[in-house]
Amino acid sequence: MTETEVAPETVPWTAEQVLALATDTASERAARLLVGDSRWSDSGSAAGPGGGVVWGRIRGTAQYQVIADLTERPEYHCSCPSRKIPCKHVLALLLRWAAGKVTGSEEPGWVHDWSVRQAVRNARREAGPAKPREVNPKTVARRADRVAAGMAELDRWLVDQVAGGVANLTTAGYEPFDTLAARLVDAQARGAAGLVKRLATAAVSGDPERLVTELGLLRLLAAGYARIDELPAPLAATVASRVGLPVSREDVLATPPVADHWAVLGVRDELDEQLSSRRVWLRGCGTGRMAMILSFAGPGQALGSDFTAGTVVEADLCFYPGATPLRALVAGRAGTVENEPPADTIAGALDSWAAALAGDPWLDRWPVLLADVHPTVRLEPAVGHRNTAPTLAHLVEAGGDALPLRGEHWPLIGAAGGHPCRVMGEYGPGGLRPVSAWIGDRMVDL
C-alpha cells in the first residue's frame, strides 16, 4: 500500500473514491442499492484529517452499526456478518456521505464506545513494534546461504534437464515444476520460484522455442546470482529482485524521487484466492518514464486505490532499484493536474521493449502507450510464424505497421469502431494485452 499525503480538511469524497475502496465489484453494486434514505438512521460525521469519522445505522437483515474512520489509518467497522472489509454497508454509508446525505454531527454512544476501543487497540499496536527491529547479521548470512544453495540447485536442475533433453518436459505436466518451485520457496527465492512457474506454462504451451528461451533465462538468473558481487549495482539489484530478495520500503523511499505529472494509464487487477494484486500503470508527462505501483491484498481486503484511471497526478515517485526501473512507491503527492503523457509509435514502443529487456531480461510485460492505432480484426488467417497460431487481431498504424493483440480484444475493437485511438497495453512475448483506450474524451477500461 502506498502512503499518500492528504490535505487535513474534511471534504466528502467523491463517489468514485468511495467505490474504489470496494474489495470486489459485487459489494460495489450491492452498496449502490443500499443508499436509500429509508434504510438509514442515526447517521452523522465528525470532521478530521482525511475525511474524519462517518457513522450510521442501517436496516439490513438486522440493524447494523456502521462506522468508517477515514483518518490516517483508515478503519471500517460494521456489525454485519460479512467478512469483507469494507463491507457493502460501509460503502453505502460513504456513498451517502459523498452525496451529502449524511448531515448529523452528534456522536451517538456506540460510536464513542467504538472509538475508545479503537484508540486502546491502536495504542497497543504502536507499543508493540516500538523497539526497532534489529537485524541480526547471522540471520542475514544464513539467509544468503540458503538462497545461494537454492539457486545452485536450480542451476544443476537446469543442466540435468538439458543433458537428458527437454522434450519430455513438454508432456510431464506441472508436477516437476511445482516441486522445484516449492524447493525455491523454501530457499527463500520466491522470485525464482515464480519464474519456474512461468517455465511450466511455457512447457505445456507446446511452443518449444518459448520453453528453450525460458530455460536459458533461468540459467541466466542462476549464473547472474552466482556472481552478483561482480555485477554493476543496478544490474545486481535487478538480479536480486528477480531472485526474490526483499527490498525494504525505507530503502526505496531513500532513493532520489522523480517528480513529474504522472498520468494514470490503467489499472489491472489479478484476483487470486490467496493474494490479489493490482498494477497501476503510470507515465510521466515530462520525463516520459513508465512506472508501476504494485499493491497486494489478502482475502477480503481491499486493494489500494489511490489512483483513478484517466487522471493525471502531480507526485514524487521513488523507483525500486534496478537496471530497468519500473516498480515505484509514492513518496509524496499533490493534487490532480491537467496534462497529457507522450505516446509512442509502434516502432518506438518496440524499441522501448528491447531497451527494457536489455536491463531486465526476465520481463514478461512492459507498458506501452501507442498513439493513433486502429484496432482491427483480420478476417482471413494471417500467414504466421511456424508453431504460432495466426493472430487475427492487431493494432495497426496508418502506414501498415502493426502489433498483434492477445487476450480479449473485442471490447477494444468495438470501442474504436475502426477509428484511430490511443491505446495502453502490456506488451510481452506474443503481443499486446490491451488495458485501456481513449475514445474521444472517454477513457475505456478494457
Binding site: A26, G165, T213, G216, R219, L357, W410, G414, R442, V444
Partner: protein, 496 residues
Amino acid sequence: MSTWPEIVAATLVGTDRRPAEGGAATLLDLAAEHGLRRRAGVDAAHGVTLPETAPDDAARPATRAATTRLAGLLDPFTSIDGRGAETRLELVDEWLEHGRLAAGDLLPALLDLGRRHRRLRPALLAAGGERARWLAAQRADWRYLLGEADERELTEPWDLAPIGRRIGHLTALRRRDPKAGRELLMSTWNSENADDRAALLGTLDIGLATDDEELLEPALDDRRREVRGMALDLLARLPDSRYGTRMAERGRACLRPQLRRVDVRPPNQCDAAMQRDGVAARAPAGTGQRAWWLEEVLARTPLAIWGSPDELLAKQIPEEWAGVVRRGLGRAAALQCAGDWAAALVDRLWPEATAAQRPDDRLLLEALYEALPAGQRAERAAQVLRDDPGRATAAGVERLLELCPRPWPPPLADAALGAIAALIRGGASTWRLAGLVTLAGTRMPLTVADRPTAVAVELMRAAFAEDRPTDPRLGTIDQLLDVLRFRHDMNEELEQ
C-alpha cells in the same frame, strides 16, 4: 552450433544423446543469448490493412453514468443482491429500450447476450446503432443482428450448406415468398435425414397456408415422430386442408349442438386413420379411454365449425363430459391460436384449475394465456390478481404476467401491488411471493397514479413492519424496493 533452430533442437534432444561443445551449461547460455535476442528484436507486422471504419451514429450516446450501469449489468462476475439472471436480462432490455447508444466496448457482451436471448434483439438493434451492425458483420455468430432474416444467398448448393444456414435461408425465403420456400424444401425433402427434416419443416410456420398441405400431408407418414408431430401441429392450424376436413367430420360426430344443449358422443374406437391424424390411442393413467379420445379429437378439430365460442359454451353440456369438452376445446384454442376461444375458455377453466391444482390444468391455462389477444392479457391478469391473489399463482398467473407488455398498464400495476399486499398480510409463504415480486420488480411502471411505485411499496412496507418488525416477508419487499430503486436511478441516468 550457432543458429536458433539448432539450439532449440539440441536442447530438446539433450546433450547426453547428442553431445554439444561445452556441454549442457554452454548450451543453456546460448539458449539465453539467442532466445533473448529474438524476444527483444521482435519486429512489427507490416502491411496490415487498415480496418473499414464504422459509420457514424445519429442517435444520442448514453451518459457516462448510464454506461457504467450497463457495464455492471453485463459483468458476469458481479452478483447483484436478489437479482437472478432473468431480472438482469430484463434490466438490460429496459436499458436498451431507451434507445440511447450503448458504448462500443460493451457491444461485444451485448451481442453475445442477444445471440442467446432473441427478445433482446429489437432493442439491441436500436441501442447498438451502426457500430453494432459494423461489429456484427465481423463475426459469424453475431450476424443475426444484420436482419433476423439473413438474406444473404447461400454460397454453396442448397442441400450441402450447414443446417443452421439452411434454416436461416429458408426462413428468409418463406417470409418473402412462402411458395418458393415450400418448393425449395420439397425439392430435396426425400433425401434429407430425419433430424434435418424436423428442423426444416419448422420453417413452414412462417407464412403457413393451405397450399402447404402438399408437403405436410405426406409428412404424416414420416418415419420420425418429431416430423409427424410438427406436421400435425401445423396442419391443425389449417381448417381448409384435407386434414381439417377429416377432423371436422370426426368432431361433428362427437359433439352435436342442439337448440339448448349439446349431445356428446365420445368415439367408440380409435382406428388407424385417427391415429395417423394425431389422436393418441392410449389414455394417460386416470383418464377414461373414451373421454380421452373425445378430448384428443376436439383438440384437433377446427374451432370454426362450432360458430362463436359463446354460442357453443352457453349450451348445456352433460355433466360427465363437460370437463373433457372444455379441455379439448381449450387445447384446440391454444393450438390454433384462437384468441376469442382462449378468452372464453380461460374464464371457464380457471375455477377448476385452481381448485384441483393439477399440473396439466395449469399448463393448459398457460397455453391459453399465450393464445389470448395481446390487449386482453393485462386486463385478465389484473382481474385474476384482484379476484383471488391466493390462488392466482396456482393458476399460473406468473406466465400470464410474463406475457403482459412492459411496463404494466396502470390497472395491472395497481392490481399487482394490491395482490402483493394481500399476500403478505395473508401470510403467504415467501416462495409463493417470490415469483410475483420478481416480475413486479422489473415490469412495474415506475410511477402509478402520479406516485412513484417505490413510494407505494415503501408505505406498504412501513405499515406491515409496524405490526411484524421481524417478519421474513419484509426481506421480499426489500428486494422489490431495491429493484425499483435501481430502475429509477437507471432511468434518470438514461434521460440525462
